[in-house]
């Protein structure tokens, strides 16, 4: 099992930023929080899903809200403790372990803080193997597990519980609670039993994030960061068919904010004179197009990286003139079944196409 230490947290956070697919928030604050917590409380105990007792109670830990508020209020630590306590009270059971709900971006690190504070083990898995913008876009919801109870806490010791049958509805309630909490808070949802996790969790994604980050670091030392990264992705159990869609320069970026999301597109002009590639994003990158044809779409992961050092670039920090590689890779198979596509397939993001799996390429 992997060990997360102050020495490799940066790699882990960088790998998680890549799996954030251009969204998921700035992982820097998450990394700092985890670093601080580990220095104070010691290393987290990380266990695998298969080690869990079928009746074990596992809850997810995440922050929710505006990234611009998170960078001021961060978290108090007590809010995470309260989150666990309140969820335990709602369930009428003690909590046996914690897990990330999304491995992409800042929420890859928050569960580490909670785990070392409470001494609870952290389960090496998540609910999507990437980052997505809404609470309903999780495997547990896709396969019929309940999102409720949802617990939200803030730094003043307030705890709010939402009980609803619909994950979509829970998302709406959560946004309303957030405005009262000052636009950022801690959230736990989809409490799971060990047996449920064994069925629906995306396993070992913390390992994936760490290995991806390490590959970037090793690649930098050998001056071939991109190639090392792509090779390593293809060796993982999930992110196969990893391929560079285009090696080129960003020649246009357009952004607008609607309904609490950041929408936009970006055009990359390849260095080899081929056709331009257009990326569409809604917080995360959702599609890549060439010649009017989609060449990659959600739920597969589309990521933009620096073409020299493979640093993941979020949609928020895309700029004209950046020299980038656009990567596409498989999402874990549990995320691209017919049922899954009904929750976060291309049509759920307003793309007028059906999902087509990436094809294998020789690079």
């Amino acid at each position: 099992m992997i060990k997360l230490t102050p020495a490799n947290l940066e790699d882990y956070a960088r790998g998680a930023a890549l799996l954030g697919a251009g969204g998921g928030g700035d992982p820097y604050i998450g990394r700092l929080l985890a670093e601080q917590a580990i220095t104070q409380y010691g290393l987290p105990e990380i266990i695998s899903v298969d080690e869990l007792d079928d009746n074990a109670t596992v809850i997810s830990i995440a922050m929710i809200g505006a990234p611009t508020v998170l960078v001021e209020k961060a978290c108090s630590g007590d809010d995470l403790d309260l989150l666990i306590k309140e969820m335990s009270r709602q369930l009428g059971k003690k909590v046996d372990a914690l897990m990330p709900i999304e491995i992409g971006g800042v929420n890859s690190c928050l569960p580490i803080v909670a785990a070392v504070r409470t001494g609870l083990p952290l389960v090496n898995c998540d609910g999507m193997g990437r980052a997505f913008p809404c609470l309903e876009m999780v495997t547990f919801n896709v396969y019929g597990e309940s999102i409720s109870p949802v617990v939200m806490t803030d730094e003043h010791g307030n705890a709010v519980t939402i009980n609803t049958a619909s994950a979509k509805k829970a998302e709406n309630f959560a946004r309303s609670v957030l405005s009262e909490m000052g636009l950022s808070g801690m959230i736990s949802c989809y409490p799971m039993k060990g047996s449920q996790l064994k069925k629906w969790a995306v396993k070992d994604t913390m390992t994936c994030a760490l290995h991806i980050g390490e590959a970037i670091k090793e690649g930098r030392q050998q001056d071939n960061a991109v190639k090392t990264l792509v090779n390593r992705l293809n060796e993982t159990q999930y992110y196969t068919n990893a391929q560079i869609l285009v090696d080129g320069k960003v020649i246009d970026v357009f952004r607008e904010t609607r309904d609490g999301f950041s929408f936009g597109h970006c055009v990359v002009e390849p260095f080899d004179g081929e056709e331009n590639v257009t990326l569409t994003f809604q917080n995360e990158f959702i599609a890549a197009e060439k010649n009017g044809q989609y060449i990659a779409t959600v739920p597969d992961i589309i990521a933009v990286i620096d073409r020299e050092n493979a640093e993941p670039i979020t949609a928020e920090t895309l700029r004209f003139g950046q020299r980038v590689n656009v990567l596409a890779m498989d999402v874990p198979s549990v995320m691209r079944t017919e049922k899954a596509l009904g929750v976060f397939g291309p049509q759920c993001f307003g793309l007028g196409c059906d999902y087509k799996r990436l094809t294998k390429v020789d690079q």
Partner: protein, 514 residues
């Protein structure tokens, strides 16, 4: 009206005298270890050659990199008490999180995490605890800290708590130097607090440096008021630098860009400041450098200063050309030893300046163009390599594919002769080599605000008008003549992931000091 502009760089101290738009005299002198001698030499030189009297100088502006260097080299930092007003929020992230141990060990410090802080909309998140506060202040007095940092959550939106604590400390200990985070950084707690701590650690050095500046001037009989340039190209008073030395970080590239705008008359253009070893490329927008949108690390510490968006290339007048690797350029450079080590001067290294001399783009006394014997084909190849390097930097700084003008400044600007791809016209104005000192002498002051609005409860136009007025008021307080104040920049940053059209508006207003 006569202005004196001085730029104290690592290698050279430049000085210029300007009357209105006329440049009376310029000089480049070696920077000295004590700083003061170099400044005195440079000023004496320009005043002499322009035949004015020291007392005729009306304004004196100095640009300096000393504070940046001191922090990065961890030298001359004083001890600091750090007050954070935020509990219970952000308790899991104490001050100095993420700082390297060597840097933390470079100065004594003690942290006081107390209740306080606001929400994104300026409402109180948690009230101050007077008793807690008084105890902390007593302890700081007892320990004898010369400088204190005060940082409250969301203080860029609501400054009340930081000001209140400032007052409290001033009443009992007027000698303590206070660094208020809202006057230094923006939204982003750790970055803003880091900047305020850096600033506090430079308090004693700030006194020393500003004294040295003032002594240089008074020893020469210069009676003009002294201003120092900050990182956004606007001016601060000498007293403001004593309080906020950190605001001078990165003023060097900014001064070059402002100088380029002045010399060329262009307000929207790319500027390439070509020195001996590196080229700094930035974008002028309405006469000011475009700011960086990403975080800036200084000495390994993350900050969110107002910083010019600069791409640095390993290309300069002293860059060494390597014949063994396809005539690639730099990043190694002979630097200030060009006149000894360059091939044209009898040295062993082939440099970019040697090519410029060979091509007769520039004549330098003591050089021998025939020392360089290369075929036309090779010369072309080298020039293509230089151009390609420059273009890679230009591309990164451009915001669109439209062609824009390029202004070349700096001591090494002669190495570029061909207009690069994507450039509408290329200019290297007269006095380009002292553009930084000229940039320092431009008398602009700024006011900048950042505030959250909710468009659902107040119409957008009203919000923007209100934000503009706040920035204008701030510029006037900073010393701008009211009739010259105009809005330089408005940025709306919608809060994604959140309903209700909550938007952060940033406005910057600037005006003339004279």
């Amino acid at each position: 009206m006569i202005r004196l502009g001085v730029d104290v760089g690592g290698t050279n101290t430049d000085a210029v005298l300007i009357e209105g738009k006329n440049i009376l005299a310029t000089t480049k002198q070696a920077t000295t270890d004590d700083i003061q001698t170099g400044i005195v030499n440079a000023i004496t030189k320009v005043v002499k050659s322009s035949r004015i009297k020291m007392t005729n100088i009306d304004y004196c502006m100095i640009g300096t990199t000393q504070f940046t260097n001191a922090f990065v080299q961890r030298q001359e930092l004083n001890s600091v008490a750090i007050i954070r007003l935020g509990l219970p929020a952000a308790a899991a992230l104490p001050p100095l999180s993420g700082w390297q141990n060597e840097l933390k060990d470079a100065f004594e410090h003690k942290t006081y995490m107390l209740q306080g802080g606001h929400h994104f909309d300026g409402k109180v998140n948690s009230d101050l605890n007077e008793m807690q506060l008084d105890e902390a202040i007593q302890d700081i007095l007892l320990e004898g800290y010369p400088a204190v940092t005060i940082c409250s959550i969301f203080s860029p939106i609501n400054q009340d708590f930081e000001l209140l604590v400032e007052n409290k400390i001033k009443q009992v200990a007027p000698h303590i130097r206070l660094s208020l985070s809202h006057q230094i950084g923006r939204v982003g707690l750790m970055e803003r607090e880091n900047s305020a701590i850096m600033n506090a650690s430079l308090a004693c050095l700030a006194d020393k440096v500003v004294n040295a500046f003032e002594n240089s001037l008074s020893s020469l009989g210069v009676t003009a008021p002294l201003y120092i340039t900050q990182n956004d190209g606007t001016l601060m008073s000498a007293d403001a630098v004593r309080k906020y030395p950190v605001m001078t970080f990165a003023s060097g590239p900014t001064n070059s860009m402002r100088g380029a705008a002045f010399l060329s008359g262009l307000k929207d253009a790319i500027v390439a400041d070509i020195g001996g070893t590196t080229t700094d490329i930035g974008m002028l927008q309405d006469g000011f450098p475009r700011e960086s949108s990403v975080h800036v690390d200084i000495g390994g510490v993350r900050t969110n200063f107002r910083m010019p968006d600069i791409i640095a290339l390993g290309l300069g007048g002293g860059s060494i050309i390597d014949p063994l690797s396809n005539f690639s350029i730099g990043p190694q450079s002979v630097g200030y030893k060009l006149l000894q080590q360059g091939k044209s001067f009898g040295g062993t290294h082939l440099t970019t300046t040697d090519i410029a001399i060979k091509r007769n783009y520039i004549q330098i006394t003591g050089s021998e163009p025939n020392n360089v014997s290369l075929t036309e084909q090779t010369l072309k190849k080298i020039e293509n390599n230089i151009d390609a390097l420059l273009v890679s930097g230009l591309d990164q700084i451009k915001t669109s594919s439209a062609e824009v003008p390029l202004i070349l400044v700096g001591g090494g600007h002669c190495i570029i002769k061909n207009t690069p791809k994507g450039i509408s016209k290329m200019i290297s104005p007269k006095h380009a080599e002292v553009a930084n000192a000229i940039g320092a002498s431009i008398g602009q002051v700024a006011g900048e605000i950042e505030h959250f609005f909710e468009y659902q409860t107040q119409p957008r136009e009203e919000c923007i008008a209100q934000a503009k007025q706040m920035a204008i008021d701030k510029a006037i307080i900073a010393g701008a003549i009211a009739s010259t104040v105009s809005i330089l920049d408005i940025q709306e940053i919608p809060l994604s992931y959140v309903k209700g059209q909550a938007t952060r508006i940033k406005v910057k207003a600037t005006g003339q000091l004279f």
